[in-house]
Symmetry: C2
Subunit: 230 residues, 2 copies
């Protein structure tokens, strides 16, 4: 029997690594896609490559899309990434690290590749619990994207293939994600979550993403092996 | 009063030029986006620049996205573009010139830019009459995309802004499009429709796109000023 193929959005972070491990455990052959989108830190692409190798991906592609063309985000522009000392101190609402239409763009590339591969499954590690500030991480957004995708492609229209967008982490807390990934053997030392890492890949320890990661390991009672600057 | 902004998907072809002219006639300030997506002919990007200048666009950006990464189309790969002698002889079904998820990717970039600009309107020159073979040119696809887009962005979620995707050509024949564009003063000599033009921008005259263009001018009883090879 041929293994079913899945396209995995792979950022190099903790969430997408766990998502990939879940897809693998479900029996999918993994095809990873990462993006060089003008993010300030390229170390996350190195992390994505390490994760792809670690989890035995069949293929891993990096698409070049320069979102600095439009601006409007702390992740692509010269805007300071907010830092604080605890999850409780973190800003509310949609953060400045929001990149306009990012998941919509990422999923569109995944959709194109899925069609060429003959894959009917896309996995994305979005989460509506910790990152509720991002509109394109919510279940209603993902459902609408899936409905659109099933009208968009030749394979959907001609062959009646139904594409499914899997979001296995969407209702999990960070601690639950880390517990599940650890159970599946994910080596989190290979991943990076920080929005503002040093060039050699050390995490800042105080951006929203670092704070949520730290709290996740603490809540899961699993040792956090991440190299933090402070 | 400040003019409302619209993002226009601008390919350099006849349809997108007409779409832009319609948006302008409706009073929008025009922000054009074109894509270097690995298409075999760069002459269409030159045509897009000419059209942007001709119609007085406020801004015109070209996004670099290499869809050859995935393959799967005669427009990006080394697959022969089909040629025939009349619209009646053209192939049926989804053509090999279909690029997987192309409009989904293009609209996603337009959505990102619209959000940064504060524009609530995107114009795309899709057509469900002549190009009924393309799944991502159908009204039901566009409606699903719009529904998804209105869940995707911070401006939709935080400010309650409703994004609209305008498809003024969707139910028009090529002859009706040409008649409307001519009425609005579009100079079609600046545009290029051919899937397989020469390097200096001459149209082949026999690909599906050339055949539909030729028939459109003939049916509209408007002189076709296009430079065809044969």
């Amino acid at each position: 029997m041929t293994q079913k193929k899945a396209v995995i959005l792979l950022s190099g972070g903790l969430d997408s690594a766990t998502t990939a491990a879940i897809a693998k455990a479900q029996g999918f052959a993994l095809y990873g896609i990462s993006f060089r989108y003008g993010q300030r830190h390229a170390v996350e692409l190195q992390a994505a490559s390490r994760v792809a190798q670690h989890l035995g991906f069949e293929e891993h592609k990096t698409a070049e899309i320069d979102l600095r063309l439009f601006g409007g985000s702390a992740l692509t522009d010269n805007i300071a990434v907010p830092k604080s000392n605890s999850v409780e101190e973190m800003g509310k609402g949609i953060p400045v690290t929001y990149v306009p239409a990012r998941n919509t763009i990422f999923l569109s590339f995944a959709l194109a590749w899925a069609e060429v591969l003959g894959a009917n499954d896309i996995f994305i590690g979005v989460n509506a619990v910790d990152y509720s500030g991002y509109p394109d991480c919510r279940p209603e957004y993902i459902a609408a994207y899936e409905a659109m995708a099933n009208l968009a492609t030749a394979s959907a229209v001609e062959k009646g293939i139904r594409l499914q967008i899997h979001t296995p982490l969407i209702h999990l807390t960070k601690a639950q994600i880390i517990t599940e990934g650890t159970r599946l053997g994910v080596d989190y030392r290979l991943t990076i979550s920080c929005y503002d890492p040093t060039e050699d890949g050390k995490a800042c320890g105080h951006c929203d993403s670092c704070l949520l990661r730290r709290k996740g390991f603490a809540d899961a009672h699993i040792t956090d092996v991440t190299a933090y600057q402070s």
